[in-house]
Assembly symmetry: C2
Homo-oligomer: 402 residues x 2
């Protein structure tokens, strides 16, 4: 019997899905499980997206151009230019989700064993994308004490070597919710120009910035045009995770031409999704204002409840819909499993993600968890009561780090 590849063996399994069987078992026992574990928002997808598909008059569900339809790229460019990205439709490659945009960016820029510097904790699947493109992730620690701010330029330079090709950020951040400031972005620019690096910015959560804070993209930094690659998706922006529609944006013509070769190999992104994506771009600003109000309220409830629990610490993040908190437990993975397997309070429990999967190696973030505030405010409150009771009852309760 022929064997699978060693790369296949090395591929990390999804850390977030590891606990799913335990949640399923709890549900089978009649326990209500509050899902704070994944970034699947409960927000309704704008009707206009689905209506655009319903109203489309299609005889043949055809391939589109590999780089995406002209009309979608034109409207996308207008959206980004309203945000002062100063791009043209030719700077965009439409992709099958943000995931494919990241894969194309890595393949276009990295040779085998080239390194990408990523502040950790980071989105767990970056590890999987790096594994399948033979890129080495060089993690640089950000700390819960500073709310996961960007490490200093000096700290970054300790990790930069001849194989370093890029710095990759997710802004606002998944899993920490941290929103990078103008100063931090200027630091990245300094590093990129000095060391000739790409800046790959995952901006899936761009529209979710709170407390009046300003979102800064590397596309806003003059002089950095040739270094920047933006990866984006409609998944979170329009609560359309199942659409698998993203894009890669770069003003670097060589990167764009190279990325297009990878896009051509798989022929096309989804035709209907591009029709829906085009309609989505007419979503009025009020839609985001409403949602941001809702997310802010949820964040405030969540963070306040967490910080009221004995031994728990949770910074207040500026964006996205995640927080990372430290818990007074021996091992967060054991705890997250225990609350599904052995615990319930008034017939309810909560599913949260241990943070180890967002770090490289098994020894970091051991007492940290990620919580996604993608359920309604009442349910968040109930989930937090469960969590508090669970922490009180957990046999592996340990000293908090904070």
């Amino acid at each position: 019997m022929p064997k699978v590849s060693s790369k296949g063996e090395q591929m990390p399994a999804s850390p977030i899905r590891k606990l799913t069987p335990f949640a399923d078992k709890a549900k089978k026992q009649g326990i209500k499980v509050y899902h704070l574990n994944i970034g699947q928002p409960d927000i309704e997808t704008p009707k206009a997206m689905l209506d655009a598909i319903k109203n489309a008059d299609i005889d043949v569900w055809e391939y589109t151009a590999s780089e995406g339809t002209e009309s979608y790229r034109e409207k996308l460019a207008a959206y980004y230019n309203k945000l002062n990205y100063n791009i043209t439709p030719e700077d965009i490659i439409v992709t099958l989700g943000g995931s494919e945009a990241i894969l194309i960016a890595l393949r276009s820029c990295f040779d085998i064993d080239d390194e990408v510097l990523i502040p950790e904790p980071f989105y767990a699947n970056y590890n999987a994308f790096a594994c399948q493109t033979d890129v080495v992730v060089s993690p640089i620690s950000s700390s819960i004490e500073t709310g996961f701010a960007l490490p200093s330029v000096k700290e970054f330079e300790k990790y930069i070597n001849g194989r370093t090709k890029a710095i990759m950020i997710c802004n606002p951040n998944n899993p920490t919710g941290y929103l990078y400031s103008q100063e931090e972005m200027e630091d990245l620019k300094e590093l990129a120009l000095k060391h000739d690096l790409f800046i790959i910015a995952d901006e899936a959560y761009r529209e979710f910035c709170y407390d009046g804070r300003k979102f800064i993209s590397p596309m806003h930094l003059s002089g950095l045009e040739q270094n920047v690659i933006i990866v984006d998706t409609v998944s979170k922006r329009y609560s359309a995770c199942g659409a698998r529609l993203g894009c890669l944006i770069t003003k670097n013509k060589e990167v764009r031409a190279t990325g297009l070769k990878f896009a051509q190999a798989r022929l096309s992104a989804g035709m209907l999704e591009q029709i829906a994506g085009e309609a989505a771009l007419d979503t009025p600003d009020e839609y985001f204002e409403e949602i941001n109000k809702e997310y802010t309220a949820r964040r405030d409830i969540l963070v306040e409840a967490l910080n009221k629990m004995e031994g728990v610490f949770c910074p207040v993040p500026g964006g996205a819909f995640y927080v990372v908190a430290s818990l007074p437990v021996d091992n967060a993975e054991n705890f997250c499993r225990w609350i599904l397997e052995e615990f319930s309070y008034e017939g309810q429990t909560v599913m949260i993600a241990p943070a180890t999967g967002f770090y490289v190696g098994d020894d970091k973030g051991l007492n940290q968890v990620r919580l996604a505030y993608v359920i309604n405010q009442d349910d968040i409150k109930k989930a937090m009561i469960c969590l508090e009771k669970a922490l009180e009852a957990y046999p592996g309760r340990g000293a908090s780090l904070k």
Copy 2:
């Protein structure tokens, strides 16, 4: 300015799209261009697919399970079992098009520099998929004289070495239209079992077999269960190329588990496409009978016209909707460009694909072209008149090989 990767530089650009600018120019000059160059059928997509989406009641366009929805995989398994594949829904991973299924198969089975044996000419993008997964394509020549039949077991064995991990076929074949016989499939089985190889079978054109010939899948060969990986797509079956919905099927649990890790990294295939794909599986057999009648008629018109032209040879293929023909020209790429750039007959011309892109290296198939019979019978006739006139007028006319 940071540089793109050397892998990005090596990535082959799409050979089929190379001539597009010349076709566009011809159209701008008012010339009608008959497109026989790409595998985009003109057949209408079954209404039921699009209706299923239109009738779906969706509030949140969510992720599905990474392996695909249970209901779609159940119905898919029933479709394959009607064809005697003897599989379960758990043997299926739903993918973002056939392209992703191929990528996942290569990544799951091959380490860097492992070799895949592929009878050539083969679908040009296999080169691109191999390049991005660091797999070495070892081409084994099939010949136009035998209608592109499978090379002998003995011939295959000349190419098998310690790094050979799999044989990959496309059946019925793109670009040749060749349909492998029971005997040829048994040969592949012998090779796979003797040398411990995977058989990766791209069956995108399964439903298009003509003249009452029987389609044989490696899934039909008993004793080969652990070696077989099927890659499939709805693109051609239901004329839904723009849906980007495919799947990978294997009864090898290790391959399935490994493939799932790659699927989990990109989270989900398209939600709406899976709804449409489910509806498509209710397509009655008469739909395919009708289409096969139409394709057979087109093939006959095309092949007869080609073989009537002086110095042209075209075998009669048993499936898919392509033929490869040899032309009496010095260089088919120059000729294909010339008919777009410099030739027209009664305000019309024809776009066909030079076959070199379907071979490894630049020196094979130099006088061959691929023609896709994806336009109506009248247009095929007109296109063939153009081609005949063009061959008569072409200054680089050379001796035919046959």
